[in-house]
Amino acid sequence: MSVRLGLMALLAEGDTYGARLRSEFEERTGGTWPLNVGQVYTTLERLVRDGLVEQVGESDAEGRIAYHLTDTGRAELDTWWTTPVDRTSTPRDELTIKLALAVTAPGVDVAQVVQHQRTSTLRHLRDLTRLKRDALDRAEGTGEGADTEHGVAWLLVLENLVFAAEAEVRWLDHVESVLARHARGAQLHPHIVTVDTAGNLPAHQEGTLS
């Protein structure tokens, strides 16, 4: 996530101080991606240098400086809104790498790896769902500290995390069924046998799957 464009999006709503930008950013995203103050000011300095943001007047009595989005900055922001986020570069995912390696690693119980991960992800999904419930109450204006606009923003962030966790569980189910199918196929064709019916690597064949 580009902090730079996130701050510019907030500044498009009106001039404001660095500290306020930080708290707004965290509030909208439920603190899922916390920012430190230093990161905010370093980013603002770069935005000023690039002519995308400018300072408004001098610092106030409390030493705070307000920032304003320039026309150039607004144009760049408009381009951001209308351009899809680039998904072509595949980020390294630890779980994918771990399972890909577990399938061939000697002595690793792949089924256990899958099951433990699924339990952990289901737990995470449950916890996200509890937060979502609170967010739903807030978004509907019925919960404590109801704030419809920010409630909806936080709800959407949570939904994204819920979808991601759900997709991970589905993928783990898929991994399990592929391993089981592979094991069944291996029973029919012993020369390719490498995993047992539970998806485990038999001790005498550990390390032979390729």
């Binding site: 603190g31 916390p34 289901l122 999904l125 996200l128 509890r130 937060l131 807030r138 759900e166």
Partner: protein, 242 residues
């Protein structure tokens, strides 16, 4: 912590005999407190529905015991077991199972009437339950005048009318779109928060996530459980806007 409302202890259920013998459940144990919703997940044929049927007294275990509200189901004859089911537990199915010729209130009142409660009192209790669940606006509607989500909410009300404190739901969101399914789960969750024990069978992770615990079955055996919930403040670092 008080005694669990539902205790499934060492339950094995074997179908068929000889070569056709299939072990649907193998030494499964599970406890559910009042106020707790437990979800059961697992692949097709893993024993999810058998567990629900055994816990709800619709099927008897080959070995092991099930107790609900301190009453061991295996100690009861068919008539007493049916009475206990009517009074202590309610079922929610994928296809709602509302009687088409009865209004929502009449559907909800039906289990009480079948149990001998006078019609007027049963209707009053039904309306009370619908009111508790914010469904009064549906009370005079017939099933064909309600959406799937509304019908399922009425079905949950029917499952929990009167003294029932144990709801068993078998894929209750299976016929609903994702959003409506979530709304139904939210209702079920609220009922459990009000002190009902719930057992939910689902294959959808996002629906199981409404439960306090998820138990994972494979080949009739509990292979894992998510354990109880953490404290809300521990769920995420900040937990959203204040």
């Amino acid at each position: 912590m008080s005694a669990p409302h539902v205790v499934v202890s060492g339950v094995t259920r074997v179908h068929g005999e000889g070569e056709a013998e299939v072990t649907a459940l193998d030494d499964v144990s599970l406890e559910i407190q009042l106020g707790e919703l437990v979800a059961v997940m697992g692949p097709s044929g893993s024993g999810k529905s058998t567990l629900l049927n055994v816990a709800g007294g619709l099927d008897r275990p080959t070995s092991g015991t099930v107790s609900v509200g301190g009453q061991v189901l295996g100690d009861l004859g068919p008539r007493d077991l049916a009475k206990l089911r009517r009074r202590r537990m309610g079922f929610v199915f994928q296809d709602y199972n509302l009687i088409p010729s009865l209004t929502a209130a009449e559907n909800v009142a039906l289990p009480l009437e079948l149990d001998g409660t006078k019609a007027r009192l049963a209707r009053r209790q039904a309306r009370h339950t619908l009111d508790l669940m914010d469904l009064m606006q549906l009370s005079d509607r017939y099933p064909d005048q309600m959406s799937g989500g509304q019908q399922q909410r009425v079905a949950i009300a029917r499952a929990l009318v009167g003294t029932r404190r144990f709801v068993l739901a078998d894929e209750p969101t299976g016929a609903l779109d994702s959003q409506t399914g979530e709304e139904v789960l939210r209702v079920l969750r609220e009922r459990c928060d009000e002190g009902v024990a719930g057992l939910l069978v689902t294959h959808e992770a996002r629906h199981a996530a409404w439960a306090d615990r998820v138990v994972f079955l494979r080949d009739g055996t509990v292979v894992d459980s998510t354990g109880g919930a953490d404290r809300p403040e521990d769920l995420l670092a900040t937990g959203g806007p204040r």
